[in-house]
């Protein structure tokens, strides 16, 4: 058999993890061996996995620090909700409506990605971080004063208040109600669709990373000047990474919002962006498998720490600091590399024995 390339193996490993995760939890759900709170976490876990994977594309593969990833999520979430509610009567099928909402969320978020991506390309390092942070805050503020409603005449927008939407009394419904957020959402997300989105995200990112585009993006990350000298269009490739990441975040946002009956703009603030960044960094920058595991574990961690009740966020903070200190400790690092080396060596020895026998 032709030997698989290492990265192909890794890609299949990631798909495998997700499918296994789905099978295990689906069985647990159908046999009712799962607590309600954990079952409620399943879709958010998938959403955060997608968020972490897409942020990893920017932070890990493209090497830019983004502190406003939740901004794209909220753009996707709100446009998804608006589309879904507006199409309630024309598209009866929930799954189809979810698909349309997710796609629209991705498109609108990628438009936002292009708009913010253009100044991003002029800036480097911490300046880039601050612009993305600023963008996230602007989106949140804007959504706080946005009012959207729908009636027989179509969709109405306003930046003032609910009354100024001028909705028809009989047929009108308010979709987005300023600081109250999107209200009256019909829940159409399912665990299955969330898993599908994770698989699609993995498919897009893994194929992109190991393609010509992906290699170009990594070359720019490793040495921008050298890459430029080789004739790579730095602006183009950076923008591609940024926009793809934004689009994926937008689709995750749409799926996330359609899992709840109300969603407030405050949910997607700076802290959420940071939370996703924490997933990426703890999972290992540029490591997709790591992002998946970190996102899943850290989303359930506050639930698992419920035993500590009031102290759980404190414990979370301490765990976070300790993990960072341990993974970056010189001695710990030497220890793990030695361990890896020994394991490899053993495997080789066993392999050699088999050959000689």
């Amino acid at each position: 058999m032709k030997k698989m390339k290492k990265h192909t193996k890794n890609s299949f490993l990631n798909y495998g993890i997700i499918i296994l995760f789905f099978i295990i939890f689906q069985t647990l759900v159908s046999t009712k061996h799962i607590s309600n709170s954990l079952q409620g976490q399943l879709i958010p876990i998938c959403v955060y996995i997608v968020m972490a994977l897409s942020l990893n594309l920017v932070v890990g593969i493209s090497g830019e620090l983004s502190l406003g990833h939740a901004g794209f999520m909220s753009v996707g979430a709100f446009s998804g909700v608006i589309v879904s509610t507006a199409l309630k009567h024309s598209v009866e099928n929930g799954a189809l409506r979810l698909l349309i909402a997710v796609i629209v969320g991705a498109i609108i978020a990628s438009v936002a990605g292009v708009i913010i991506g253009i100044p991003v390309l002029r800036l480097r390092g911490d300046y880039l971080a601050i612009v993305t942070l600023a963008f996230g805050e602007i989106i949140k503020n804007f959504l706080n004063v946005l009012y959207v409603g729908v009636d027989a005449n179509g969709i109405h927008f306003s930046l003032k208040d609910e009354a100024s939407l001028g909705l028809d009394m009989a047929t009108g419904t308010t979709i987005v109600n300023g600081p109250m957020g999107a209200v009256g959402i019909t829940k159409i997300s399912s665990f299955f669709s969330a898993i599908l989105l994770v698989l699609v995200t993995l498919f897009i990112i893994q194929n992109m990373v190991y393609s010509r585009t992906g290699r170009a993006i990594k070359a720019i990350r490793d040495n921008r000047i050298a890459a430029e000298a080789c004739g790579l269009n730095v602006t183009k490739y950076k923008l591609v990474a940024f926009v793809v990441s934004a689009a994926l975040a937008g689709s995750a946002g749409a799926l996330y919002a359609l899992n709840y009956s109300t969603v407030v703009p405050k949910k997607f603030d700076f802290n959420t962006s940071i939370l996703i960044l924490v997933f990426v960094v703890l999972g290992g920058i540029g490591n997709l498998t790591g992002s998946i595991i970190a996102a899943a574990l850290l989303t359930v961690l506050p639930e698992l720490l419920r035993a500590f009740s009031d102290y759980r966020m404190l414990v979370y903070a301490i765990v976070l600091i300790l993990v960072m200190l341990i993974t970056n400790n010189e001695k710990a690092r030497i220890f793990t590399t030695e361990l890896k080396y020994r394991l490899k060596f053993k495997k080789k020895q066993i392999g050699n024995k088999e050959v000689s026998e």
Partner: protein, 289 residues
């Protein structure tokens, strides 16, 4: 109009003091200290409990608060950041976020989420010029900001320790070879930054007397923006950035929209950074191949 401008300068001065702490720490440790905003909150609480529960005079309360925050800064640096000196900047960033969560949640447990109403510690009456009223808090905030900026500039340019700081910020390895104690210098920078945060905390809460465990986070983010605005690493830049930011915020609150004021502040920041990618007073760094 003029009174809005004065309010803006007063708020901007608070941002400037916080931004000075950010800028100094960034200049020397090349890290974004996200826990800085929460040190402000600790400073506020310290001043609050020493004056309200222990009944100490305001002057003493402020001094205690500065001392506690200075120690806290040194402590955080020793415990959380020093072991990561050689790690990637992202790892340090996440650790800083961890410290920030820790401080917020510890404060939540100790003092609960009920807002404490902070006494105006710098109230010496109000100046009136015709129909314009200037509170003493605004004047003192602005004056202390100027004094701190001048003192810091003199300190880094004239004294031996200050020069050592500059040397460390330019090249740690070379500074060490010149006999500078790099670790002590970094600790000192954190101490100064955190002490400034305590002052900022007292001044902030004197003008906006609602003290909660998350009091520091939004001013922290804004001050970080101010530091970038003025060119991060530059001391006069931090002050300029802070004051401009404060004025924009108050004016947009007054004339455009209260809800959108933050959005306007950040939009102006983005525009400035597009025109001048290293901030107003930032140094242009040429890249060598």
């Amino acid at each position: 109009m003029l009174s809005y401008l004065i309010n803006g300068i007063s708020l901007g001065s608070v941002y400037a003091i916080i931004a000075l702490g950010y800028t100094m720490v960034y200049g020397i440790a090349k890290m974004l200290n996200f826990a800085h905003g929460d040190v402000i909150m600790v400073g506020g609480y310290m001043a609050y409990i020493t004056s309200s529960y222990l009944g100490l005079p305001y002057g003493v309360a402020i001094l205690i608060s500065i001392a506690v925050c200075t120690l806290l800064g040194i402590f955080i640096e020793k415990l959380a950041y020093k072991p990561l000196r050689s790690a990637t900047s992202l790892a340090v960033l996440i650790t800083a976020i961890g410290v920030s969560y820790f401080l917020q949640n510890a404060a939540l447990l100790i003092w609960s989420s009920n807002p404490k109403s902070f006494p105006n510690m710098v109230n010496f009456g109000t100046l009136e010029f015709g129909n314009i009223r200037i509170t003493s808090a605004s004047i003192i905030t602005f004056l202390s900001c100027v004094v701190i900026m001048v003192a810091l500039t003199l300190f880094t340019n004239k004294t031996k320790v200050g020069k050592a700081m500059k040397a460390v910020s330019e090249d740690k390895g070379a500074a060490q070879l010149m006999g500078i104690n790099v670790n002590a210098t970094i600790s000192l920078t954190f101490a100064i930054g955190s002490g400034l945060a305590a002052i900022a905390g007292v001044l902030l809460c004197s003008s906006y007397p609602n003290l909660t465990p998350t009091t520091g986070s939004m001013p922290g983010i804004k001050a970080f923006t101010a530091a970038v605005f003025g060119g991060i690493g530059s001391i006069p830049g931090a002050m300029l950035g802070g004051i401009i930011l404060g004025i924009i915020e108050i004016l947009s609150k007054a004339y455009i929209s209260t809800e959108l004021s933050d959005a306007i502040v950040f939009a102006v920041l983005i525009v400035i950074l597009i025109v001048k990618p290293t901030g107003l007073l930032g140094k242009k760094v040429t890249e060598k191949v």
